[in-house]
């Protein structure tokens, strides 16, 4: 057994210990500071102590300056282990409060179950796959259920316009529509610029720069305007709906509404859905205009197509049908975004953490559904020859 010195380190408190033999007696001498902060490395050696044939052990605590539960635990544990291997153990020189602490720790020697053993990764993969599939299925079913419920209440409300909550509706129109104007306008304008620039680059090879106008017109009116607006609104307002309703759920406000005889569907969901259904077509129209403006500005600046030429080419090359193809999708997308936002809000459980998780899910789901619907519409319209 190594002989360790009790030399002092003056800078910071340190736990020191030494062992020696006095005949049949193993003497363990502890000194210094036996605290959580000061113990570093000494514990592994203490854990390894063996009686090595000694019949008695004396643990001397007289030189300990500081003892906390960690130190007390080590003393208690050493004594316990040495006793187990058949030696008599005696503590000497301890002050009363130190003995009390060791006593307290010994009373709390209750081992907890260890960290659960790692599961076979293959099983984990299969398990997660199964859970995820099941979750997708139930989510889809619940969402469809909520869609039906919302539609019923929506049309019932439309038949009884007096039950529409005007204040809430106007407030949501302001939040989701008017407040979104700057960001929607800017992004649409930039997309118009990008389309014009990229299109012109390619079309110039065939000397057909003027068709850049057609490209911008078709691109913005049919797809870009509505799709970008829907994605921005899903990110801005769909998530806000989830967060608002989710927070109310956490605060038990939804339950409070029910107890005073108000239908959360009517009070919370319908104003939001209706607001978005009204706002999104308007925003889309605005986005279309900004996109065309962006294209026109780009055409004027870098393609030498004047504003007047741009307008004439647009009116000849792009039909009003393209505009309607874009705009007609807006109310549908709006309905989907608002519904998913509200649905996820109601799915919040009573913890703040789940508000965040549900908000993320709402945005991802809404954008996913919007793009899937857009793809379906695209195929449908081209089959119908519109």
């Amino acid at each position: 057994m190594p002989q360790r010195s009790l030399a002092k380190d003056r800078d910071r408190p340190v736990a020191r210990f030494a062992t020696r033999r006095e005949g049949d007696c193993l003497v363990i001498e502890l000194a210094g500071s036996w605290t959580t902060q000061a113990i570093a490395g000494q514990d592994t050696e203490i854990y390894r102590l063996q009686p090595n044939g000694a019949t008695t052990t004396r643990i001397e605590l007289g030189q300990i300056e500081d003892l906390d539960t960690t130190g007390a635990w080590l003393v208690y544990h050493t004594a316990r282990e040495l006793k187990k291997s058949g030696t008599a153990v005696e503590l000497s020189g301890a002050r009363e409060e130190q003995l009390g602490l060791i006593e307290t720790v010994s009373e709390h020697d209750v081992p907890c179950p260890g960290f659960p053993p790692p599961v076979n990764p293959l099983i984990t993969i299969v398990l997660r796959l199964g859970q995820a599939s099941f979750k997708i299925w139930t989510e889809a079913r619940d969402l469809l259920n909520f869609l039906g419920y919302t539609l019923v209440v929506f049309f019932r409300t439309l038949l009884r316009p007096r039950s529409i909550r005007i204040t809430a509706l106007v407030s949501h129109i302001e939040q989701t529509g008017i407040n979104a104007l700057p960001i929607v306008g800017l992004i649409s304008f930039l997309i118009g610029v990008v389309l014009a620039f990229q299109g012109a680059d390619q079309l110039a090879r065939f000397g057909a720069q003027i068709f850049t106008v057609n490209l911008v017109g078709y691109g913005v009116l049919r797809e870009m305007g509505i799709l970008l607006t829907a994605i921005i609104v899903a990110g801005r307002s769909g998530s806000a709906f989830t967060a608002q309703i989710g927070t109310m759920k956490v605060n038990e406000e939804i339950d409070a509404l029910r107890t005073i005889g108000l239908d959360p569907m009517e009070v919370l969901v319908i104003p939001r859905v209706l607001a978005l259904v009204i706002v999104l077509p308007l925003l889309t129209f605005y986005a279309d205009m900004m996109g065309l403006l962006g294209g026109a500005v780009m055409a004027t600046v870098s393609l030498d197509i004047s504003f007047f030429q741009f307008a004439r080419q647009l009116s000849q090359g792009v039909t009003i049908g393209s505009f309607w193809v874009g705009i007609i999708k807006a109310p549908v997308f709006a309905f989907i975004i608002a519904m998913v936002g509200c649905y996820e809000g109601f799915k919040v459980t009573r913890s703040a953490e789940s508000v965040g998780r549900r908000t993320t899910t709402a945005v991802v789901e809404a954008i996913f559904l919007v793009i899937v619907l857009d793809a379906i519409a695209s195929v449908l319209f081209s089959q119908l020859g519109i």
């Binding site: 902060q37 592994t44 635990w73 544990h77 307290t104 020697d109 081992p111 907890c112 179950p113 913890s351």
Partner: protein
Amino acid sequence: MEDGVAIEVSGLRTQFGMQVIHDNLDFSVRRGEVMGVVGGSGTGKSVLMRTVIGLNRPAAGRIVVLGQDMTGISPREAQALQQRWGVLFQDGALFSSLTVAQNILAPITEHTALSPRLRRDMIDVKISLAGLPPDAANKYPSELSGGMRKRAGLARALALDPEILFLDEPTAGLDPIGAAKFDELIAGLQRALGLTVVMVTHDLDSLHAICDRVSVLIDKRVKVGTIESLMGEPDPWIQEYFRGPRGRAAQGTADRKPQGGKA
């Protein structure tokens, strides 16, 4: 600064915007005592605690904790000081993504050089000290009841063997039996580990059961004393608080049973 004082606050002024919470407040806690902090809603009990532990910056005044002046303290010194106190927030404030054992482990891994085996053993001891059953170790906070979450928070606060324990409304939201048990737990730990305890509370039973002295927040200042001496104060709020029906009931129970729980 004399050795017997754990916390010394002098001339403290805290304000949020124009609203002054404390003005020229003096407050001190002796080593090894249990200090209760009471006051009406909005008098800044929790704010006082948060200011002492450095989560709030005071507008003026001096705060000395364990001999260290908190004003103009360097981040490194602050970190060293933070390891000498433990804080139990109202609902435990456990890290929700970690199990109870991992919650307790977090400060230990961060600030000590203990071997993995000793860490594991100490987690077990702390879980038992806080009065949790062993199988709570691998549970997540969301799987625990409110009382268990508080105990787990207490176990984490005790992880580094602090000298001072700050408790924010430790018995709020517990049923009377659970609250009494929690009081007993705190009293027992305080005696066994020689802790200094600062406890913000509304609970009159807790005050009678375990507090050595009580600070009452009134008019942006504190009045300190034992419950008996505070009862002699003419202030109407204090009179109402200690002599009201609830105060009398709590005093009655405290008188009937022998002081405190088991050591």
